[in-house]
Amino acid sequence: MNFFNFDLKKIFTIALLVAIPLFSVNMQQQNPNRPWILEPFYYLTATTQNSYAGLSSGVRSTTKDYLNLVDTNKKNQKLEKELAELKAQLGALTELKLENERLSRLLEFKQKANMNLLGARIIGRDLLTEYDTVTIDRGEDHGVKKGMGVITISGVVGYAIEVEAKISKILLITDRYAVVDGIVQRSRARGIIQGQSKDSCALTFLKRSDDVQDGDTVVTSGIDNYFPKGFPIGEVTNVKKDEYGLGQEVTLQPIVSAANLEEVFVILNANNQDLERVN
């Protein structure tokens, strides 16, 4: 064995491997600044790390956004549902408020009036367009009788023509079969109000000399005690006097419109009340 027989290639490799860290340490000790050779590595590392960090952050952010979006969608759906529920509740509350106001007015009217009044709700309308009747949820069991007047706070609605145990059919004053005794409030001219069409009545049996003008209010005469005296029926919209003849044609617009009716009063006893005197 030749002791001095070295494998130079091996020695050089080992020397190089040992020298590099030593050299590095030496260089680091000599120069406190970062050696220039590491710059590209730092740059690459920084770029790579930044890229990874950016990517990671991006993925995290996207995932978070996606998850948020899913969550937001769920929340949105929930909120929309809640909003719909609240809207429905608001609608119901508004309806209740309006009903409450309406009923309060009715109650106030009932308390003020010196009549026996029975509150009723309209539950049905006529099957045919050509006839004007409504059905109310009060009947014989509640004291309603045929012919009894039906009113609202504003004016006359009609009267009962058929009474069952629990319901009654009310003939509106606009029906062609309806007749109510009335007087012109200003001139006290007396006539009969007859239904004509959905939104008009005729004041008939007036004398030619009777004083009736457009805009006059026609009120109940109270003669039959089914209605109080002086309760508004309608307003005169047209007066027509023929050149010859005994009477005159007077058209009224009813104060109460059937389309807005919801709650009404049945007059159980008008107690001969004179509303004109009260007012």
Binding site: I122, I123, G124, R125, D126, L127, L128, T129, E130, Y131, D132, T133, T135, I161, K169, L171, D175, R176, Y177, Q194, G195, Q196, S197, K198, A258, A259
Partner: protein, 179 residues
């Protein structure tokens, strides 16, 4: 005897159906849609009987329908009889000439009857009533036939089912049916 019982039952069920349908029109529709024109639901019964029954049976049913109508209307009985018979007459005339079998034809018949009814009422009112109808509601006249025809489709199947249940042969469908 059994056949007669089924026949009476058939009349009875259709009379009840008329009341239920009229109630739907007078009350339920009113509560949901207010004074918006309602379909003539009860006319579907009359149309059905006009199309798929003998004239005698249809006339008897028209009387039953009239009784149901006057309970929910201000119309006097003579007017109700008159207008229902007028509608029946028109449908009976059209039955073998224009109309065919099945739901399409039934819808058409209901639409036609809803179109005829106000006209018949208007004319009859001038003949029978002392205080005749003075205004003709064109909007109602146009809207109601459409709604009546639309609502009559499910009723056709309901009436056919009633017929089947009461041992009456339900109307046959033809090949021309689309619905």
């Amino acid at each position: 005897m059994r056949e007669l019982s089924f026949k009476i039952l058939n009349y009875l069920v259709f009379a009840i159906a008329t009341c239920v349908l009229a109630g739907f029109q007078a009350s339920l529709w009113y509560h949901v849609f207010g004074f918006f024109p309602a379909p003539y639901m009860w006319l579907a019964v009359l149309s059905y009987w006009a199309l798929y029954r003998s004239i005698t049976e249809a006339v008897i049913m028209s009387y039953l329908v009239s009784f149901a109508v006057v309970t929910m209307s201000g119309a006097p009985l003579d007017m109700a009889f008159g207008m229902n018979l007028a509608v029946l007459g028109v449908l009976y005339m059209l039955r073998d000439r224009v109309l065919w079998a099945g739901p399409n034809s039934f819808m058409l018949a209901c639409g036609i009857s809803a179109l005829i009814l106000p006209l018949a009422t208007f004319i009859l009112s001038h003949i029978i009533e002392e205080t005749a109808v003075v205004d003709f509601h064109f909007y109602d006249w146009l809207m109601r036939p459409i709604l009546t025809a639309a609502f009559s489709l499910p009723l056709f199947y309901l009436f056919s089912a009633i017929d089947r249940l009461t041992n009456k042969e339900p109307p046959k469908h033809t090949e021309s049916e689309v619905v």
